[in-house]
Amino acid sequence: MVSRGLRTALSIVMALATAHATTAGERFITLASTTSTENSGLFDHILPRFEQDSGIQVRVVAVGTGQAIRLARNGDADVILVHHRESEERLVADGHALARHDVMFNDFLVVGPDRDPAGIAGLADAAAALARIAESSSVFVSRGDDSGTHMAERALWVAVDVTPDAASGDWYREVGAGMGATLNTAAALDAYTLADRGTWLAFANKDALTVLIEGDPALFNRYGVLMVNPARHPHVKASAARAFVDWLLSPPGQAAIASFRIDGQASFFPNPAPAREPPRRQ
């Protein structure tokens, strides 16, 4: 009985595995990307266009930039679309990904309660605003998850030489969550946080939160697209992955990104000069 049960179970597992093997024959790629691009609805807007043009299905796994890069290192994704240039370039240098391409950009925003206890509204310098939040010990919610947004936030603290970790659990709250979940927490705590514009515009639970700082060049948020290196990870679907990267950088792909609107507002802007840096073929 035991062995019979085991054998049945094994045969079911095998059936599942083979069922999967047949679907693997279909054209799809796995795209590891950030919660900001998924939560804002951008992929729902652009991916159907690519799928229609190419017949390749794109399966999005939305995680933080840090985790997306780990997925690429393990060979668990075919393409990644993330926003932390340094980590992206390291991934290329380590041979896990082919070239990095600028694909689009938007900006980060410092959002906070409209009563603005730290008095930062209207400051031009985002890092100075963070310093003021620290001085007044106003509650700041950090992503705390190694995401691109988290790393951008860390860079701002470094710029004003504040070590928020010393106040961790006090006014500095690291939630270790995606952008939307972090905004939920900030709304509930009446706290400040750093958000990307796409997620902010699409976010439906803003409560008393409002945009306090925007437009500082330090808040520039650049997204890169990278194909995982098939020489390093042989199972990577090279031709389909390359087709996707090329499409994103091509005029139709860039136009698809530009035409995405949240409540009538553009939230991602295509790579400013695609002609200057044509998609490099490997």
């Binding site: 009985m1 085991l6 049945t8 999967h20 399966r59 939307g180």
Partner: protein
């Protein structure tokens, strides 16, 4: 809170209007959790019976272990299964990561200890009842296991249902190994997590309510079955 009122309205609308997208998510959730429970039960029920019948060295330790594993944290199971199925892991060649198969595997691992432990408790009592009779027939332990499983089948359904409850309600494991990919690995719990993170609290709550309704339905079924089994037992 206005959200709760809105959520109930939305939940009702979701159920009544039978939107295909929503129906797809519910169907996928049920298919994955039911597959996981069937696989887990096929392995766990015989093991539960073995624990009830056989006396072997290390049996008490095995019973303690299985009971302890009932509370296995889903995120831990998710992480272990991820490490196994990752292309960098030992089973990476199967390419199962971010597929429903990976989610079924993770949920099976999560559910199996629950079914083993509950089946062991149910069958141990039954075995005490039957032992003399079975021995006087000269039944071998292997036959006893089969008899116990067959006679205890209606009570064992409750053990399997408990496993189903655990599988369908967890989010930690399936999020890690499934990746919450729309139309592929997105199930009810991961949708709730996603909609919450988008700030769509009413929609998330509505999905949660539907999940609770399914759980109520399944458990009502289990109690009905247990009721049916009672007269048979005595």
């Amino acid at each position: 809170m206005a959200d709760i009122g809105t959520a109930f309205g939305l939940a009702l609308k979701l159920i009544v209007t039978v939107e295909p997208e929503f129906l797809g998510i519910v169907a996928r959730s049920l298919a994955i959790s039911l597959s996981a429970v069937v696989i887990a039960a096929l392995i766990a029920l015989p093991l539960g019976a073995v624990l009830a019948v056989y006396r072997f060295p290390g049996r008490p330790a095995a019973i303690v272990l299985v009971n302890a594993l009932m509370g296995l944290p889903p995120v831990f199971v998710g992480l272990m299964v991820y490490l196994m199925l990752s292309r960098a892991g030992p089973l990476g060649f199967m390419g199962m990561l971010f597929t429903p198969g990976a989610m079924i595997l993770a949920q099976s691992v999560l559910v199996a200890p629950i079914v083993i432990a509950l089946a062991h408790r149910i069958l141990r009592d039954l075995y005490e009842e039957y032992q003399e009779q079975l021995c006087s027939f000269g039944a071998r332990p292997a036959d006893m296991i089969w008899t116990l499983l067959w006679d205890g089948r209606l009570s064992l359904v409750t053990a399997v249902m408990a496993g189903f409850g655990r599988a369908s309600a967890e989010v930690g494991a399936v999020l890690i190994v499934g990746g919450n990919i729309a139309h592929v690995t997105r199930v009810m719990t991961t949708t709730i997590a996603l909609e919450t993170s988008k700030g769509n609290l009413a929609l998330a709550l509505a999905l949660g309510i539907v999940l609770v309704l399914i759980a109520v339905g399944v458990n009502a079924g289990a109690i009905l079955l247990a009721g049916l089994s009672a007269p048979r037992r005595k």
